[in-house]
């Protein structure tokens, strides 16, 4: 059966859920890799592997969602809670531009004390100061959170954020798009599977491009992992709005859920399966941030055609135990060592050219930045201008 399926995949046929399950369960890892690599080669015959220079910034760690797999959030009122000030964001943008970047990936917790005006003002301020700079920001659960606390429909939230300067939406918060799993992970409340997909549908209708993600290795079954991919494939058939798919393994350290991390081979098999199932996605990213540089590089033989972001800053995965770091020099070395040509890209996967460090001297980045220095709990001045909803939020603004 696997041989017959492999022949069909090699011939370009679309697999159904049962086919995908059979391949995932029974195909040898090298065979899955060869099938995925064949699809990668058909979609990207020029042997180019792309990457982006951007910065992963988390504007707040205060969150009411309390997903049990998350080691990053702090509850409302926590002494370790923070909200970045606009000036701090500007400084991060300056540092990103200095190493050749042109985009922030901006995501954060579901902070009840940030009204939509705060997001709009931040986006407007960034665009006023850095007109060409791109804001890839606010995953579907954050959009839903803004919609809920401001009592504004999702499509209007998207419209207002786009008017303020939002360029595209990251695919975070998808975890596994199956409600049984979401309830077990305590993330059903932040967005059900249908709600997550619907935010993306509305974003695509509004003309935004987005990415899609999958965090696997918690409580889902193999069938549910595949159901997640099928739901993404269906929406992509409908809208064509996803630019890329990124999967990573759950990072268990310091989380309430605990447990163990899925292995490197699980990752390569899941990635390869995604490349086979998601035949209507052009790009698959390698998650070297969770797998490390070595397995991250090996991903390029198991279906990935993109090395994701040069990591300047990372807070979420690091909080759960993974702290791999690669700057542009290292990412390019890994791409070229694997026999590919390295090219910078933007969020739309449009080529931006050869590596920046080949044109000019860049500072090496051998450690990851963080949102804030440890112990910095300062409250930004401009927060006073926005009404807080929580008691501790109100108190901190008065005290400030």
């Amino acid at each position: 059966m696997v041989d017959e399926l492999a022949r069909r995949v090699a011939d370009g046929a679309r697999v159904n859920a049962a086919d995908a399950l059979a391949l995932y369960r029974h195909a040898p890892t090298h065979l899955l890799g060869r099938l995925a690599d064949g699809i990668r080669a058909r979609k990207h015959p020029d042997r180019v592997v792309t990457y982006i220079i951007d910065r992963n910034v988390n504007y707040t760690n205060i969150c009411v969602a309390r997903c049990n797999f998350c080691a990053f959030y702090r509850p409302v009122g926590s002494a370790e809670g923070y909200v970045l000030g606009f000036d701090e964001v500007f400084q991060k943008i300056d540092e990103t531009i200095a190493v050749g970047g042109n985009q922030l990936l901006l995501q954060g917790g579901h902070n009840p004390d940030l009204p939509i005006a705060w997001y709009e003002d931040l986006l407007r301020a960034v665009k006023a100061k850095y007109p060409g700079f791109k804001m890839h920001a606010l995953s579907p659960p954050e959009v839903l959170h803004i919609s809920k606390i401001n009592q504004i429909p999702v499509d209007v939230v998207i419209e207002r954020l786009v008017a303020a300067g939002l360029d595209s939406i990251p695919g975070g918060g998808a975890e596994i798009l199956v409600d049984r799993v979401r309830k077990l992970l305590n993330c059903y409340g932040k967005a059900s599977a249908s709600q997550w997909l619907d935010v993306m549908r509305q974003a695509h209708r509004a003309g935004l491009r987005t990415t899609a993600t999958m965090m696997y290795g918690t409580v889902e079954t193999d069938e549910e992992r595949i159901e997640h991919m099928m739901r993404l494939r269906d929406l992509q058939d409908e809208t064509g709005g996803f630019t890329a798919f990124i999967t990573w393994s759950y990072q268990p350290d310091h989380t309430e859920l605990g447990g163990t991390e899925a292995t490197g081979i699980d990752y390569l098999r899941t990635l390869a399966l995604a490349r086979i199932v998601l035949d209507n996605f052009d790009n698959l990213q390698a998650s070297w941030v969770t797998q490390g540089g070595k397995v991250g590089q090996l991903s390029l033989s198991y279906g990935a055609n993109d090395m994701g972001s040069v990591m300047i800053e990372e807070n979420v995965v690091r909080a759960a135990g993974a702290a791999y770091c690669m700057d542009e020099v290292e990412i390019v070395a890994n791409i070229e060592d694997a026999g590919f040509t390295a090219r910078r890209r933007n969020m739309h996967y449009e080529p931006l050219g050869a590596p920046v460090f080949r044109d000019r001297d860049l500072p090496r980045m051998l450690t990851l930045g963080t949102a804030r220095a440890d112990g910095d709990v300062s409250v930004p001045d401009e927060l006073r201008g926005y009404p807080a909803r929580s008691r501790s939020g109100k108190q901190s603004r008065v005290a400030h």
Binding site: H30, T263, Q297, L298, N334
Partner: protein, 299 residues
């Protein structure tokens, strides 16, 4: 990617127990397609070991520190790490390790260390090896194929002193030399028949240009294909970590060295203890089996 017909032809040959020629291995090694190389190495590995992956739990003791702690019950080998100051110091630490080790193998030192302390003591290396052997040393940990020079002298000295089941390592040879080194190991095995394993990943990482994932899996696969007469291809679990070590098991490796003897994880949670070793092997579709320092499966 290697064309299907070429790969099928090579797979048929290795499945039937045949070997690849040196030019065939070279062609595979220089191509960016690691999967064909991995498939071929995996066939060779399964012909020798089936689905079995052995692992060795090792207790380490520093060369220059007294052995104060009892050897953890789970350890199957006691390994002396570091370089001895002199032959006397080496002999003393071996005697102490031997006394603490019970019926476990005591290993330690590199060929270079033994050579150096022998010269300093004004003795031939074969004499120094014999002294260490009679003090209780049963294996040299590092016999680096890329740094030992006259391999015939090394092998005859070791075997003459009573060392059996020799383990070859690679110190820092670049990718371009890997195949030649594995072929050399294979030729020495034909001649002496005493080589038990090759650990093909560098023991001394390059400070500015560490090996990549492609480098590592290629090195493992090339060693398996170019030295099919050497029983085991090892990966160091502690040095290379669970993710790379696990993937290497699908590229021809069959043995995991330097697994922690304790179920605590002194290196932090991302360096997995025994349960995680077994979990990783099983997730690779293989069967974990514990072995001792003599390469014998522990019942």
């Amino acid at each position: 990617m290697t064309t299907s017909s070429t790969l099928d032809h090579l797979l048929d040959r290795v499945t039937a127990g045949g070997h690849l020629t040196a030019p065939e291995i070279t062609a595979l090694a220089v191509a960016p397609d690691i999967l064909s190389l991995g498939m071929l190495a995996d066939v060779v590995r399964r012909l020798i070991h089936g689905a079995q992956v052995t692992y060795l739990r090792v207790a380490t003791c520093a060369c220059d520190a007294p052995i104060v702690d009892a050897v953890p019950a789970g350890a199957r080998e006691v390994r002396i790490v570091g370089s001895p100051a002199s032959l006397d110091a080496a002999t003393t630490i071996v005697e102490r390790a031997r006394a603490a080790a019970g019926n476990r193998v005591v290993s330690g030192f590199s060929w270079g260390d033994v050579d150096r302390v022998a010269v300093a003591a004004g003795l031939p290396v074969s004499r120094a090896l014999a002294m260490l052997r009679s003090a209780g040393l049963e294996a040299l940990v590092d016999v680096p194929l890329d740094a030992i020079g006259d391999a015939d002298r090394v092998l005859s000295s070791l075997m003459g002193a009573g060392f059996e089941r020799l383990r070859f390592t690679i110190e820092k040879a670049p990718a371009s030399e890997r195949q030649a080194l594995a072929e050399r190991a294979s030729a020495l095995q034909k001649q002496y028949g005493a080589i038990q394993s090759i650990n093909p990943l560098p023991t001394v990482p390059h400070a500015f240009r560490p090996t990549t994932g492609y480098d590592d899996v290629k090195a493992v696969a090339i060693a398996r294909l170019a030295a099919p007469n050497v029983p085991s291809i090892q990966v160091d679990w502690l040095r290379y970590g669970p993710k790379l070590a696990q993937v290497a098991l699908t590229f021809g490796a069959d043995d995991l060295d330097t697994v922690s003897p304790s179920d605590e994880a002194p290196e932090g949670r991302r360096r997995a203890p025994l349960e995680d070793v077994r979990r990783n092997v099983e997730a690779a579709g293989l069967t974990p089996v514990e072995r001792d320092g003599y390469f014998a499966v522990v019942a």
